[in-house]
Symmetry: C3
Subunit: 349 residues, 3 copies
């Protein structure tokens, strides 16, 4: 009986297979403090029990991205330990708020498999779900990764590419946000007077500030998330690898961009869904992350007058301020761009 | 409607103006653990619920300086985002103990404005207050900063320099320390047998140990405090700036010096007030902080026989042990000195 | 009255002397989160309140090694501040589970003293005990350190070397593990189907992964443990010392090896005792720690059918993967080896 797991290779997956991931994790105020120390987010709802309580939450909910990272971390040792590349996310929905004291587990269902023409690798599509101790889904998302084959001669385990939505529909948003007493929403404490209808589709916002990442910081982060992808914290392996150095977990860049976006989006307090995201270029320690956002759309939430949704595209760069909104032209990105994220945030009306 | 805040410039301030700062913050056991990891303080009252309980606290209070840093952090984006220099503190009083679970907010009142003769900058004096969820003031202090003007031609918004006390009076101390059952104060657990009357005015104490600061550490600290001063964590901007590198938040040096001072001042368990402080020289990552203290005075607290106050001057240096008490002669400091802090600590009798 | 403590020198110790160490410490969820961020352990019992509750714990217990480090940290300023070398551990038993909210104190009893022939140093043997707020012992271990003499001419304070067991007996294990409802132990959540009898004495397991240590990380760790050994965080002193750089706390390497050992020993959820350990070579920042383990023995716990004990030897290396099990031959170790640890872990049957 082999005691250690080498992770799954492409030919090990089966369509419809459901994988229960280790390790269950109780999220605590300690995790929240570390998350604050790692990224410096200032959204009032997640920062203050009193602010959250006044709005109708039982207490401050855990940052959406901390929930994402913890659930994602659990999937790594089964799904992407032998990944060549993390290709994309889609249909990511936050379904229930998570509070300190909740315990999260994760499962993944294989929903697509497509061998590459080289026969050396294949793309695995999984729908991963995070669940709390009451067996309620708190998070649900699809990601696809290119995974190595153990044996190039092995037959492809399937040939199906799932259809994925370009964006989550507005009707599917809001599950992780209780009906809020918006009259108690204090703009001064929240840091901005701009409400939903103050943002116009097409509007671009430079988030001004930048944040430099140190090796110790992103290593602390990936370990906090119990993410076992060795490229993030094993210098010996990383030095011999593609980049010659440790690669920062892509989610770290997302959290930095989100924290920076407070300056301009202070009232976009909750990420309700991630429509898609691309890690355009790798990030390494010593890099300074900047970000800008564009308002893609606004939407009502069926039956709700407290909050509305704003579809945002947040672009993050490395070592380049975003006053001139570094972007892509055609298929090519400005060489400074590292992240292009499309998501729905909720904003008080 | 501009969505991002460029911070206030000198001409934006008005005498008497009161600014409500974002973001409310619930302090947790997670923040306390990070504070311990960042500085290594060993004062028994803040470290042990049992020790605190035996003395008459409901549980271990949060370290005074952690409270200070969190309140201070909130003021940065409104007061000092465009500051050239943080010039001083005065009349800083800790008014109520803070416990994990308390939520802190902060306001600042502009109490002085003085344009510099260059007309490029001016000095802004603010009285900042930290408040808990019961709307009780927990901290109150004055600081003054030199702030850039947006437009040199703009008229000065006022011309008033407030009178500030050289030191907080003993009668104003002790609000953040309940009446203690000093009979339960265990010197062995606290780490020292030296009580208030064992210290003599004039006495100097070398705190012996030194502590090296890494970039990741002070970045974690400023983000934990939600302090948005970019010079602390934006290498791109810092590299182009005055020092060519990231500057460590001055409060980080204060907390290091305070933690080091345990070796010699183990029973000076509570900072009741800060009379004044000067960041004599900047501190950068890689620097090793040492400290020594001098007893300036002792004072009774009106009506209290449990604890008394000791006025201390703690001097911190960079890369230089303090066995020979590096100091100033006249107006010039030993070049190793980075901090000169004057404060009142409470000590059991 | 001297206010600062220079630590004890060899001639300051007395046989039978009992030392009460400062500082009492309430362990919190914040400490647990930091421990997770520092090492990335994934053992389900310590990670999830729900998992622990189902088994019969009141909630997730604190990681055994975090308890060890906190107790150990308290002893440093009295026992090993003037140590030349930390020579060994023996008879280390975990006696009661520790939960967030518990407050730990520590005492040490001097059980052996042996001057070295140089008369410049001597070996001090202490039995250290960690105790919770109910005055129950939670941890008990012997360590011996080589300590400098203040005055070479001082007479040796004693001449006695205690007899120490090579290994803790199986009958003394299990105090820190309640009787478990093993039927509720979920192998999928725990990360492995290998139970006690799937491991055979002699079996060797490569833990595959490696983890690189940064200066900020081990400094955060030693300060979290309130460990005052300056060689870990004072670059000025360390640069002038034996290694020319900061030495990483030996316990940091133990925790890294333990966290890595999850891959292969996921169900060895509790360290019940440490039989002995040797820090074969120093570890410095930038080093990448790998580990492998050998099953030395299995043992029943008297009267218990829920769990059994597995005696393990875990060897950690620096910058060298362990697929070929780097070891010692005779008295000489492979030059990559930094740690050789012998302990008992409990595993569900």
């Amino acid at each position: 009986m082999s005691k250690t797991s080498p992770g799954n290779f492409f030919e090990d997956f089966r369509l419809g297979q459901i994988i229960q991931h280790a390790t269950p994790r109780t999220v605590t105020a300690g995790d929240v403090a570390l998350y604050t120390a790692l990224y410096g987010p200032r959204f009032a709802v997640q920062s203050s029990d009193e602010f959250a309580l006044a709005l109708g939450y039982p207490r401050a909910p855990v940052d959406d991205l901390l929930v994402f990272h913890i659930v994602f971390g659990k999937t790594v040792s089964d799904i992407s330990l032998n990944a060549v590349a993390n290709l994309g996310y889609a249909d990511c929905r936050f379904l229930k708020p998570v509070y300190p004291g909740d315990t999260l587990t994760a499962t993944s269902e294989v929903i697509g498999l497509k061998e590459n023409s080289s026969r050396k690798t294949g793309v695995v599509y999984v729908r991963s779900r995070g669940r709390n101790q009451q067996r309620q889904d708190v998070l649900d998302y699809v990601r696809w990764v290119m995974v190595r084959k153990r044996d190039e001669a092995a037959p492809a385990p399937g040939d199906e590419v799932p259809e994925l939505p370009n964006a989550v529909e507005a009707g599917a948003l809001g599950g992780a946000c209780p009906i809020l007493n918006v009259g108690a929403y204090d703009d001064a404490l929240a840091g901005s007077a701009a409400r939903l209808h103050d943002y116009k589709p097409g509007e671009r916002i430079d988030h001004v500030d930048g944040m430099t990442v140190e090796e110790a910081e992103h290593q602390l982060a990936t370990r906090l998330y119990q993410n076992t992808a060795r490229v993030h914290f094993n210098l010996v392996e990383a030095a011999a690898g593609r980049f010659g150095k440790r690669l920062i977990y892509g989610g770290h860049a997302i959290s930095l961009a989100r924290a920076l976006s407070f300056n301009g989006l202070a009232n976009a307090f909750h990420i309700a869904a991630i429509n898609g995201g691309r890690h355009v270029a790798p990030l390494f320690a010593g890099g300074t992350v900047y970000a800008w956002s564009q308002v893609l759309a606004r939407a009502d939430l069926p039956g709700r007058t407290d909050v509305g949704a704003m579809r945002l595209r947040t672009v993050a760069t490395k070592d380049k301020p975003c006053a001139d909104f570094p972007d892509k032209s055609g298929k090519d990105y400005d060489p400074a761009v590292i992240l292009d994220l499309d998501y729905w945030a909720l904003v008080p009306r």
